[in-house]
């Protein structure tokens, strides 16, 4: 039996890889210099480490070192990219194209600009697999569009958007293309030139690096992309992001990118095998389960399923020795089920029944077998307790029932 509890929520965060930790350690107390100190060896040492990290990140996404700006994480990268572009290009236009399943860091940045009267926003729908249609992007772009912001891969259902095509369309129409690649960079091949990406957000803690550090790629050539800084201060990062650099975090992010780049192909094969085994096991042993997300164009570690007639939080409670997450309202502060799952056209009832499994570098086959058994057992147990399962078995159409909701 595998060691408990099992962590299978790698879209939320990942543990720091031992190799990453080791790379970071000297930069806490031994090589503690400020990378902006230009006149002594402590500063040079730190600057050297930061530059090395810039190179490691650039290599992962096929960019140039100087195009990498360090931030406190992808939330900041998304804010800086979106607000920075809209502010810089305000003479040119004020329209943004995005989509409904973006992360809150993107959606709420757009909403803030709308509220402030600084932008109008088109929120494109997605198909039943969670994918944006590039043609819809083309149609949404107007002469006033300054920014298209579409994520590389979705954090809940794992769907990978046709990013290269969207990027090409944005480039043709002269709009800046920002891509939140938090779930994709380091997991699947990302290439800012092939994908026509102008701005790209990444976060260290999703790729076995530390929390609280991220980066924004800013294209320097063909075309050069400009952003207005969102924080005033010492003019670090070529004036785009002030603030003393988080050297330890940056070293960790760099190392995490290096490891990811060198092991991606092998890790993907392994994750895909595990994920497919988990999926097949669940679907073989339980009826009335449905996949949320794209059947093939999906992150290798992602499996999001709805277990009809079983509420997600109660299932999480039954799986107390397994860390996964649910799109159920009962697990959210707002008491609304996941907006991502709903955007796929999945009914609210099935959104409440959704569970996201996020497989990662450290999951094993024994864990997958254990999780399959536990999930099957708990779903069956909870269905025996579910009035909806009973009604469905009795042939009652749940949609025809007059519910007495409060």
């Amino acid at each position: 039996m595998p060691k408990l509890p099992i962590y299978m929520d790698n879209h939320a965060t990942t543990p720091v890889d031992q190799r990453v930790l080791e790379a970071m350690l000297p930069y806490f107390s031994e090589k503690f210099g400020n990378a902006a100190s230009r006149n002594h060896s402590f500063g040079w040492e730190a600057e050297e480490a930061v530059d090395r990290a810039r190179g490691q990140i650039a290599q992962l996404i096929k960019a140039k070192s100087k195009e990498i700006i360090f931030t406190s994480g992808a939330t900041e990268s998304d804010n800086l990219a979106i607000k920075g572009v809209v502010e810089f290009y305000k003479e040119k236009g004020d329209h943004i194209v995005t989509c409904v399943t973006e992360h809150k860091a993107v959606l709420d940045s757009c909403r803030a600009l709308e509220r402030a009267g600084k932008a109008t926003v088109t929120y494109l729908p997605v198909d039943k697999y969670g994918m944006v249609d590039p043609d819809a992007v083309r149609k949404a772009i107007t002469d006033r569009t300054v920014l298209v912001t579409i994520m590389y891969a979705n954090n809940e259902v794992g769907t990978i958007h046709p990013v290269a095509e969207i990027g090409r369309i944005a480039r043709e129409r002269g709009a800046v293309f920002h891509c939140d690649a938090v779930q994709a960079a380091g997991k699947i091949p990302v290439d800012v030139d092939r994908d026509h990406i102008d701005l790209l957000s990444i976060s260290a803690h999703k790729i076995y690096g530390p929390k609280g550090v991220g980066a924004l790629y800013v294209r320097s050539k063909g075309p050069r992309v400009r952003i207005t800084p969102q924080m005033d201060g010492g003019g670090h990062e070529r004036g785009m992001r002030s603030g003393t650099l988080n050297v330890t975090g940056i070293v960790g992010l760099g190392k995490a990118c290096e490891v990811a780049a060198s092991e991606m192909a092998e890790e993907n094969r392994r994750l895909l095998d595990l994920r497919d085994k988990l999926q097949a096991g669940i679907f073989e042993r339980l009826d009335e389960v449905s996949l949320n997300g794209h059947p093939t164009e999906r992150l290798p570690g992602n499996l999001n399923v709805s277990f009809a007639y079983v509420e997600g939080e109660s299932l999480l409670m039954g799986l107390h020795d397994i860390a996964v997450s649910s799109g159920s309202a009962c697990t959210s502060a707002t008491l609304e089920p996941s907006y991502v799952i709903r955007a796929l056209g999945v009914s609210d009832e099935l959104a409440h029944s959704s569970i996201r499994f996020g497989l990662g570098r450290f999951n094993t086959e024994a864990e997958v077998d254990f999780v399959t058994d536990r999930v099957t057992h708990e779903v069956k147990r909870l269905r025996e307790m579910s009035p909806l399962y009973e009604m469905a078995r009795d042939g009652i159409d749940l949609k025809s029932v007059q519910w007495k909701a409060e």
Binding site: E384, L388, A405
Partner: protein, 142 residues
């Protein structure tokens, strides 16, 4: 969020899960909540028509662990009570017994509503002038 020991106990060992025959005239069935809201509770009470005492109870719940625990606890709570007394049960009793946090109060409200709905259903057969109709239905179905 951490669950209280009592919620965990009811969740792991739910009391009185199951169903009674809905058409039995002595059985009152209350179904509250809605699947789109993520919670549906079915509570059934077997009520003695002479003494009006709740003799047995069953539940089935689609909802979070706190909703399952609330309904499981309610089946124990109402047993042996006269329906007039059961009608006065407030959700706050459930909240304090199970140590529910504020975000889970609505799960207890649902359980309170389920008691009222189940007794209301039973009364339909026994008070609104048509006990005979229910008896007749039972005879036909039996």
């Amino acid at each position: 969020m951490a669950y209280s020991d009592k919620v965990i106990d009811h969740y792991n060992n739910p009391r009185n899960v199951g169903s009674f025959d809905k058409s039995d005239a002595d059985v009152g069935t209350g179904i509250v909540g809605a699947p789109e809201c993520g919670d549906v509770m079915k509570l059934q009470l077997r009520i003695n028509p002479d003494s009006r005492v709740i003799e047995d109870a069953r539940f089935k719940t689609f909802g979070c662990g706190s909703a399952i625990a609330s309904s499981s606890y309610v089946t124990e709570l109402v047993k042996g009570k006269h329906i007039d007394e059961a009608m006065t049960i407030k959700n706050t009793v459930i909240v304090s017994e199970l140590n529910l946090p504020p975000v889970k109060i609505h799960c207890s409200v649902l359980a309170e509503d389920a008691i009222k709905a189940a007794i209301g259903d039973w009364k339909k057969h026994h008070e609104d002038g048509e006990p005979a109709a229910a008896e007749q239905r039972k005879a036909q179905e039996g």
